[in-house]
């Protein structure tokens, strides 16, 4: 269980930061597609008997670069939806040929508290730390290029390199999150708490911190609830992310109305 808390904390903190930038850059689709790729990778690794972490990372990276390459050329709704679905189908095919179908599918798609075993906790933490350091180093250029690519380019920021590095971080984060949170729920955790944070605060520094806090809260609460009730963690992640987001929406609406009344 300590593994769950440790890995959960690392993952939530990382997702909180990454999700903040994903929302800011309007890259919600990437947050949807990359975990699906990770799912296929884990299933594939499972099939050939390799450490799932390799599969997760490899396919997540492939998906990330695929998105990076094609998003410049086509803004096609359809192409992206098909890609999303293709990766799920691929993962399903991989799993179908293994003998442990049902528990594996459930765990990979909907998450598992003990998704990170003792043998994996060290590489997971190392990767999480690397990503965290990378984000810390890239923070300012990443922020500026997310707000305005043109302006930051003019100021000498290598926007293309930042884009690529960011995609790499998103891929790694997804690879780490999927075993615990589940491929289908990673999107919720990546988008929900950060979007909520942005609704509450306009200032990047504060919103970022808030995003991490909300993310931690969501995942901790999900782990705790899942542990106590024995119900799947994915259920709590999905529900709590939605609740956090809706609460922030409600708070924002009330604040806007309060201001309107003051002005009138």
């Amino acid at each position: 269980m300590t593994n769950a808390w440790i890995s959960g904390t690392a993952i939530a903190a990382l997702v909180g930061v990454v999700g903040f930038f994903v929302v800011m850059r309007g890259a919600a689709f990437a947050a949807h597609a990359i975990p699906n790729g990770a799912f296929a990778g884990a299933a594939g690794a499972n099939l050939i008997g390799v450490n799932p972490l390799f599969g997760l990372v490899a396919f997540a990276m492939a998906a990330a670069f695929g998105i990076g390459a094609t998003s410049r050329r086509t803004k096609s709704d359809v192409a992206t939806a098909l890609a999303l679905v293709m990766m799920l189908a691929l993962g399903a095919a991989f799993l179908a040929t293994s003998t442990e179908y049902e528990p594996a599918v459930n765990a990979l798609l909907f998450g598992e508290i003990l998704g990170v075993s003792s043998s994996e906790i060290l590489p997971v933490l190392v990767l999480a730390l690397l990503c965290g350091l990378g984000l810390a180093v890239l923070y300012r250029p990443l922020l500026y290029s997310s707000i305005s690519p043109e302006l930051s380019n003019a100021r000498g920021v290598n926007v293309v390199a930042i884009d690529i590095l960011f995609l790499v971080v998103v891929a790694l984060t997804s690879a780490l999150a999927v075993p615990v949170v589940g491929a289908l729920l990673t999107f919720s955790l990546t988008i929900g708490p950060p979007a909520a944070a942005r609704l509450i605060s306009d200032r990047p520094g504060r919103a970022l911190a808030l995003s991490v806090l909300l993310s931690l809260f969501t995942l901790w609460a999900a782990i705790a609830s899942s542990y106590v009730s024995t119900l799947p963690i994915g259920f709590f992640v999905g529900t709590l992310s939605a609740v956090v987001y809706l609460a922030a929406r409600g708070w924002d609406v009330r604040r806007t109305r309060r201001i309107q009344r003051q002005v009138a």
């Binding site: 709704d77 679905v85 459930n106 909907f110 919720s188 999905g238």
Partner: protein, 303 residues
């Protein structure tokens, strides 16, 4: 032909059921899908599938027909999308995604409870990835009736639906009741998603809904032709997928076949890639030939 049509393919009752069901579902999906893609509502269609999944899982838990569950979930999802607003506005993407993430969470819950309460295994696979080979034969008449209803409904509202899909303003000016038509269409979309979920699973049903229509739109100029071609591509992918899934039992020594949905989705993607290529070549040919790029291939004399 032996290696394409493995032994027992056509004499197998569940395969015949699968082919019939698959054809019906593909045609309905194609018809509804053409409008969905034209209206730019691919995202909405995709989002519906999340709630439909929860519906199917819930139905499985309650011991009710999964078809009902999928469709019921789809209708609730359609209602939620209507409440949030279907236009592709930035904030709404997130709102929709997050709310539907909750639906996925429900799916996780329901599927877990199902495994607790029943000894039957494989329900996860069936709901998520389709169960066309193991579907109850009684589902077929239900699906047939629903398919006919959807197609008939589309026929009846096709002109107002078409006009409002081309331009909301023009339709409004002509007195088309946009809200009624929009709601009716959403209901049909929910039913189509539900039907398709039976064959290839709820989370993959998007492929059959938007894949063949999108492929068609790259090459078809006329609406009637687009509808027909989309249906053909859909049925082709589904039938071929069913045959290959059946065959795949014989491919591995472990006698574990690959899911139908995997083949269908792959074929849909292949169709889309080919159609995109053909569409691109057409445009390129016209431009390279130095002809007026605004003229059709027919006018230029290529076709």
């Amino acid at each position: 032909m032996h290696w394409i049509f493995e032994p027992g393919l056509f004499s197998n009752g569940s395969v015949r059921t699968a082919l019939v069901l698959g054809a019906m579902v593909s045609i309905v999906s194609a018809a509804v899908g053409v409008f969905t893609v034209m209206r730019g509502q691919s995202f909405a269609g995709h989002a519906l599938t999340d709630v439909a999944t929860a519906g199917g899982a819930g139905a499985s838990l309650a011991g009710v027909s999964p078809l009902l569950g999928f469709i019921g979930g789809g209708i609730i999802g359609a209602g939620a999308m209507d409440a949030i607003g279907v236009q592709r506005v930035k904030g709404r993407d997130i709102a929709t995604g997050v709310v539907l993430g909750a639906a996925t969470g429900l799916t996780a819950l329901f599927l877990y409870l199902v495994t607790l309460h029943s000894a039957a295994t494989g329900s996860t696979q069936q709901i998520l990835f389709g169960s066309v080979f193991t579907v109850e034969p009684s589902t077929v008449p239900d699906a047939a009736v629903l398919s006919v209803l959807v197609v008939a409904g589309l026929l009846v509202i096709r002109r107002p639906l078409l006009l409002s899909s081309i331009s909301v303003e023009l339709a409004a000016a002509r007195g088309v009741r946009l809200r009624a038509v929009g709601v009716a269409f959403m209901a049909m979309l929910a039913v189509a998603v539900g039907l398709s979920a039976i064959v290839i699973g709820a989370i993959l049903s998007t492929a059959l809904l938007i894949g063949p229509p999108a492929s068609t739109l790259k090459v078809a100029n006329r609406f009637a032709w687009a509808m027909s071609l989309a249906s053909v591509l859909g049925v082709l992918a589904t039938w071929l997928g069913i045959v290959m899934a059946y065959d795949s039992y014989y491919w591995f020594p472990s006698h574990r076949g690959l899911p139908v949905s995997f083949f269908v989705v792959s074929l849909v993607v292949v169709e889309f890639a080919v159609a995109s290529y053909v569409g691109q070549r057409r445009k390129a040919r016209i431009i390279v030939a130095g002809h007026d790029p605004t003229k059709t291939p027919e006018q230029v004399g290529w076709v």
